[in-house]
């Protein structure tokens, strides 16, 4: 067997009980990050004026992504519909109390900082909680931040496929233990936590160019000003 060339190798038990699907998604996230890093380096070396000062990681050349169709409260939205504007994609869920609203608020601010040019930027929120987030709920949630925002959901399979193609990881979090017990007002925790689960998800924000190709990734917590600066570059790209 060709196995023998690997020589004796121990696999730690922890590596064996991993779920294969998240591992695949992480791998694709790693790929995107690697691409982003490579893109950033290329631009840095070229010393291209504005691009050198980007806060996010530029994808160079822009990366085509598989076509997809998801659902908004007003009907289907497909990747083809996102062409013609710069599109900012953020994956989250409407029951997320902190980082999702924090991110969408910053995206609204970024768009406002661009003034009239902000109309050329479309912000799209994609739910990673399709079981609870109906298309109507996702759309209403996104519009609560800015009436121009698009909110999408879809079948669990459709969401998983789109997330995967953008390197976005998500998984339902293990139930939170409220160990002091003093907070639950009659909450019945028995039998799982179907109503109150949380979802872990990539905090990455992605920007697509006017041709719907992946062009820039904000991996860290970029400020509204930083994202506005990067969007200005993408709008002039």
């Amino acid at each position: 067997m060709t196995d023998s060339i690997a020589g004796p190798r121990e696999t730690p038990p922890s590596a064996r009980r991993g779920r294969p699907r998240p591992a695949l998604l992480w791998a694709s996230t790693a790929l995107l990050v690697a691409l982003a890093a490579a893109g950033g380096l290329v631009v840095g070396r070229a010393g291209a004026g504005d691009a050198g000062a980007l806060h996010g990681s530029l994808i160079e050349p822009p990366m085509p992504v598989p076509e997809f169709t998801l659902a908004s409260g007003d009907g289907p939205v497909s990747s083809a519909d996102l062409r013609g504007t710069v599109t900012v994609l953020f994956f989250g869920y409407t029951f997320c109390p902190d980082i999702c609203p924090f991110t969408l608020q910053r995206l609204r601010q970024a768009r406002e900082l661009l003034g009239p040019a902000g109309d050329g930027v479309r912000v799209v929120f994609v739910s990673v909680d399709p079981e609870r987030d109906t298309p109507e709920r996702a759309t209403a949630y996104a519009r609560g931040f800015d009436p121009s925002f698009t909110g999408l959901s879809g079948s669990p399979q459709a969401i998983a496929d789109v997330a995967s193609s953008f390197g976005i990881f998500f998984a339902r979090a293990a139930p939170q233990e409220d160990t002091d017990g003093g907070n639950a007002a009659g909450g019945d925790r028995a039998g799982g936590d179907d109503d109150f689960y949380l979802v872990d998800h990539s905090a990455t924000i992605l920007a697509l160019d006017r041709d719907g190709r992946l062009r820039l990734i904000w991996g860290g917590p970029a400020t509204a000003e930083e994202m506005a600066a990067d969007l200005r570059f993408l709008l002039s790209d």
Partner: protein
């Protein structure tokens, strides 16, 4: 008989005296609470007026006393559960929230609960939190006891 009395009765008294001395440190204004919660706010939490989301409450806890204190629980009557949470982003860029059993507020220090970090999560809201509303949240500190805080709701 005498050996049975020993120190047990005396030791707590000494500890209490020590604690009292620590509390009454120099420069402390009489009547000022040692633990103060300021800048409290909640983010509006609604998908639609009749469709609540989960809520988040932020604040700054300042400990003007001479001893560390710990936030050990929080309550809001309008939520099924109120939890002390911290948003984290791991090395893969994946964000999640972890439950904190307690948050220490060291003596003379302040601890901020702010977006993207520590917050109180109001889980299972009975009603939406609308901008302009003010809610009352109870914070339970290990030493300072319960603090009732009025929390204005800010728009999204």
């Amino acid at each position: 008989m005498r050996p049975r009395r020993r120190t047990p009765a005396v030791l707590p008294a000494i500890l209490l005296a020590a604690a009292a001395a620590a509390c009454g440190g120099a420069g402390e204004t009489p009547g000022e609470p040692e633990l103060q919660v300021t800048e409290a706010w909640a983010r509006a939490a609604a998908v639609a007026p009749d469709a609540p989301s989960n809520g988040a409450v932020y604040f700054t806890a300042a400990n003007h006393g001479g001893q560390a204190d710990r936030l050990v629980a929080a309550r809001y009557a309008g939520a099924d559960r109120t939890m002390i949470h911290e948003t984290f982003v791991d090395e893969r860029g994946v964000a999640g929230m972890r439950h904190l059993d307690a948050v220490e507020v060291p003596a003379g220090a302040e601890v901020r609960f702010e977006p993207g970090g520590r917050h109180l999560m109001l889980m299972g809201l009975a009603a939406s939190l609308a901008p302009g509303d003010t809610i009352e949240v109870t914070l339970e500190f290990e030493r300072s006891g319960e603090l009732r805080v009025r929390v204005p709701v800010r728009p999204l």
